[in-house]
Symmetry: D3
């Protein structure tokens, strides 16, 4: 099985880190392939950037149709996930969604701990969009600037552990270390956090494997069937083709 | 006051109809200007199309910054609205949002009545995204195909009136005739619907006027302040410039 | 268009202030007329007082039927609003309702900031009654006594600005300055509050204008149609007449 | 212990029926006293009528302060209950509230079955106001006119039993026969309804007894403490006196 | 009327205290009988212990069928309540459920104040299971160890009063002193708590009386009818018999 | 990795079927071991039976501590799951919980389709207990009796497919075939259901694998840490020992 890790951010180093973090967790026979957004921002942190990044993600996926058995939307916040699920015939999961689904089986309430205040609104709206606010203990954001995106994981490690402690005091049974640049952090600090710590990309590849193992079909009814074909103007070729074609 | 009616669909005839429908409702001194998406689909009807259309909308708005006092996202479902509100310094409202806000003052529950089943999921998720499901009596969709987008308003009028009746029987105190191509229908059929019928584009321009009259400022705190400036790659010029610049 | 600003409190100075605050915001052709409760309390601040004031409001409105095109229930908390909407054939909006509807288009969560602790329960229940608690960041009340009702706006200004700051820190994207005696404060302090500040009476007249512009009809079905006629005993003449008559 | 059954409707026959229905259910030593609204409508069935009736109820209670140990607001929908609870020093319960509280202990979801469509909106809003919608299977209303209020209980009995059956099919574990004129019906038909049938006035007097037995105090904090004293104009003497006096 | 107070904990002293606390509150003619779990833990404080204790409770009740007119599940958290309500033909109420139902009639939000942090999760989930979280101001737990279960009521009294004060500051209109070992405390401290204090076992016996007075029948439809008879293996005799027999 | 499939029902044939259904889906290196309840009922279908079965499950798990890396509570409805998660140091997942978590990634709303009306209440309460009602389109139950438990899967196949169709019409994006005796059905009928069909035991083993792959620790804080040790009376040896011992 081949899982595409599609990063709607433009930072290739983060894509590599996501693949490296997830690799040890996959089953024998699962191959991970990374892809990085050809345009957009280094890391998505606002509604505007998610709107743009999600549209780019759809192009990335459509260009690669037929080369993967499942896909991961590799930005916490899952930009473009709903549209991707409509357009593709294979399972697609998001980092945020997969981490939360896993966290539901580890405790009553989960907290999302992340590295920048700017992410708070987007993450909180993601939780609400999935109708999981009742299961959430909140989004806990580092309150200080970081030096560079690739180093934020190491630079912030102690601070994020402290934030996780605050999240637990506020009622969290589980801590999700959200934000693609934090991939790999959970394994490094999980003995310093008193509750289960979830690494979203690990959760996502395992959830993708699970959906493939379930053998689920592409819906031909319901809200995630392929939308009716539609002509378009000025869109990227692969995306336009996919939008324009009839479901088989 | 100049209000930009920004249509994230590519159908210019719909943009014209929106402006014509709203024109008689505005106050003396309000000018309406239409804009139509330069790329995308003729009418957005799925999550994927909304993802794309919302990104195009951000470009359209950024290209016109400085030429309007308020903007209307002129597709029911409001693609890109959150991001637009972050990026712009003037009020932005969506057709769906404005219609629902108005409907809240006309009764306990509103229904959305529209012309295609394909729109159901997107509209329902929009209502949920605004946390207004408790105030909704549901989305009621025509169950038959239509001939062409520009004529759907006339072709479907009788059927939509019948659907509105069903919505009222299901508990609706108000009916929103959702979908940009239906602009102007409410005025034509409101005496055949036993409860208030809301035309979203009329609601939207009036809500835009109201926000301007309130004299509200651009937030410099909270989740709709301008996001921190960020470099980007490959985005449309005006959009890249706006994302990259410091808030004044 | 003539809008009646019906104050269910007995303080005429507040009625005058409401009219003066709203006047600059209305469209050309809109006329504002104030009315003050002939009996009741100087300002409503409890459930009991709202129960009484709302009943008086119904009398005030019925006595003036035919002289206005829309009405504003001019106490934040909207006493009697539901009943007024049943009995009248023209749109009726409440200060609280209109301010919240406007705030929905300015951010994710709004806070209500007000001048007396005694108001907290009533305001909080109003938000819940409109099913908008998910969109609320709370009610923030001044924790100190004020000297006199007419001067509370000036006396409390600094304190309310500070409270607004606390509301923003608690997650508010928008601040509603609630309580009729605060009318006009938003314009004076909005540059000291880092998010949009909503003046309820301005919101209310603009929402009333919007509903008239929408051309909505009096419902003859749904829960806000005129209740069946009923004989009564001992009620004020105009109210008894309205309750007793058939809808046209 | 003396319990006042305060009927905010003007129909004395209903007051008598309420007392007669509840009498066999009270404990030794409990005395029931009825009171009927001196003005208002024969039976409250709309928001407007509830607004008025609730204000009259406050007068009725204040005029009788000191003569009862607990009070029942004897119209399903509980007009004026919140205000009464603020103003009085003894427990006050409503027919709707007490019936629902009892129903919570008889099953997962309760339905309200009643005799007139006109009551639907008010009853549904009452359930929502108590935040019990999740526990409700809906309000089921007779869809036909009745001849006279005093005979509706007998005239509608068969139809209401059939409605109760529909409510059970829709998921109700318990049926509340709502509406003061139906007092006494539950005992007559409970063997024809396959789930527990709750008579609101019986529930209410038992809940009043329970609150007295609990020995609960008048709050001096929280939202049901006595509101601060306030001068008023033109209100009924006893009510004005109560609103104007300091809590002891 | 005979009410069985069935304690799913193994501590007989607590059973005695429950009976003694409730005795003065019951009506003439009501007899209270205690029963203590023959196996299990001294006091239930976790989900695991509630799972076990609830199963023992079902045995206790089935062994006594025919000897009582109503039963009280006498551990706050109500282990086994749903199953008991299915299996028995007479009303069954839980301490938590009854206390909350009573509290609903005393204010907007109730708080549960209790003697051990270990109880927090179970109590919070109980509130959620009853869909009453909107009416709750939270669970407030003593943050210090206690010497012995029978003395915790006296030892903790001052601390619990202080916690109650904090609960009121956090928005509670009513305080429930939860946990069977605290039976009788409310009466001793209610003048030191500024809002009504509810003693769960008093609430429970009064609610049991109320349900008997309502004359409600055993459902033969809905989700609390007797489950279809089923053969079983290895269960306690009385329980196996009850599960195996047809409803009459 | 060894996963224990612990069936709280007494039917060994169902345990075998669960293992056989899940076996093809697990990763290389995962071993499945079944265990069947030594006492209880053939299949749990009511709250009472779940209360008992959940207590037996805790015994089953405690007797096998140290022999598995993760456990599955193998009855849809997940009896005893919360307690098991407290007591064990390894991940525990329930059939219902795992199926729903997977379904969250396949669409907006899921439906549970099952073979007996008796299961409806228990399943519906399970969905509510996980706070996932917003994501549910309902529980759809076969309305006819079945001949024997082991054959119900084949006997009911056509009827359940039809029910799934009804669920989709009612808004389900995904169908969960709930009830342990239906294990293996999804694979046989998934091409006759127009949306993804989830087999709970497949979901459960994959979720168990995912949690092990995540490397999550046993919490030492939050609500799923081991409860404080407690002496007990009369419980099964292994369970008593586990409850009585200190967490390491």
């Amino acid at each position: 099985m081949r899982i595409l890790i599609a990063n709607p951010n433009t930072t290739e180093a983060v894509t590599r880190r996501l693949v490296e973090t997830a690799a040890p967790a996959v089953a024998a026979g699962t191959e991970l392939v990374g892809a990085t957004a050809p345009r957009g921002v280094p890391y998505i942190a606002s509604r505007a950037e998610a709107q743009i990044g999600g549209a780019v993600l759809l192009e990335m996926l459509c260009e690669r149709i037929g080369t993967f058995d499942a896909a991961v939307v590799a930005a916490f916040g899952d930009p473009g996930l709903g549209g991707a699920r409509e357009l593709l015939d294979v399972p697609v999961v998001g980092l945020a969604e997969a981490a939360m689904a896993s966290a539901l089986m580890l405790g009553r309430r989960f907290a999302v701990v992340t590295f920048a205040v700017a992410l708070e609104a987007w993450y909180a709206e993601t939780i609400e969009a999935y109708a999981l606010a009742t299961r959430s203990a909140g989004v806990f954001c580092a309150d200080r600037p970081f030096t560079d995106l690739e180093g934020v994981r190491e630079e912030m490690a102690d601070h994020l552990v402290a934030l996780a402690g605050r999240a637990v005091a506020a009622g969290a049974d589980t801590v999700i270390l959200g934000g693609a640049p934090l991939a790999g952090l959970a394994a490094r600090v999980h003995d310093r956090i008193p509750v289960p710590a979830v690494d979203p990309v690990v959760a996502a590849v395992k959830q993708a494997e699970a959906l493939v193992a379930l053998g689920v079909r592409k819906p031909v009814a319901g809200t995630f069937r392929r939308p009716p074909p539609k002509r378009s103007t000025g869109l990227a070729d692969a995306l336009a083709r996919r939008i324009g074609e009839n479901a088989p």
